[in-house]
Amino acid sequence: MSKVKPASVEVRLPSRLGYEKVAMSTAAAVAKLMGFKEERVEDLKTAVAEACINAIEHGNLLNEGLSVGVVLSTADDALEVKVIDDGKGLKKMPIKPNIDRKIHGEEDPRGMGMFLIQALVDEAEWVKGVNGKSSYVRLVIRLDKDSD
């Protein structure tokens, strides 16, 4: 697919840990079709997995009656991924994790997910849903024309 026609792929996941791997695989397949290099595909897989885990755990509170929507939209030069849950959205962005503080017991060892998302994709934004529902995280990973 040298010239990518815009396309949209949707996946609906149960709010059960482990199912983020379905979204990872789907995102990886779409990114490969678009011509992303393996290194960027791996970045995307981790970012999508972490976004889905957050949606399952914190958005839908592990309620298996709720699902997580994953919408992948291709453009000529970028792939956008929206991960949608039924939560109220982020109250505030967490602080950047600090490994020294974690090792010295001054910070929770967890809490790396959002940091990884931000570090691995070109854009990441967390959007609160209207009426406290359908909040989403929007990720964008761009095809670098020079190196990809």
Binding site: Y19, E42, I99, D100, G111, L116
Partner: protein, 119 residues
């Protein structure tokens, strides 16, 4: 959906003559891996285990919950005067471990031979 994490321990001696406990993981390292990761580590005798080497060769998927388990292990190791090293991570997870700062507290090596030679 998550692949169960398997873990086993090999007790080796480095070329320099130091005992090394090698924790070999297989499967996913995720929230369900607590017993495999921390439980296996905590089963090592603290008095005699001073060098711990983590083998990720057969691990395909590590998420932030799995990274948190590795950090918890590093905290316990630091408190017990142990040194932790790792090998067998893919290029991607080498990058991830570096990003989150784990490499500051656990030296990474490409393979077992390189790790053992350095211990």
């Amino acid at each position: 959906m998550q692949t169960d994490t398997k873990a086993r321990v090999d007790q080796l001696t480095s070329p320099a003559g130091h005992p090394v406990a090698v924790l070999r993981f297989e499967g996913d390292i995720a929230s369900t891996s607590k017993e495999a990761v921390l439980g296996t580590y905590q089963g090592l005798p603290k008095q005699t285990t001073k060098l711990v080497l983590l083998d990720f060769t057969k691990v395909d998927y590590i998420n932030s919950s799995g990274i948190a388990l590795v950090i918890q292990m590093l905290i316990e190791a630091s408190n017990s005067g142990q040194k932790v090293y790792a090998f067998g991570l893919s290029a991607h997870f080498t990058k991830v471990f570096t990003m989150v700062g784990i490499t500051k507290y656990a030296g990474l090596f490409p393979g077992q031979a390189e790790a053992m030679a350095a211990l």
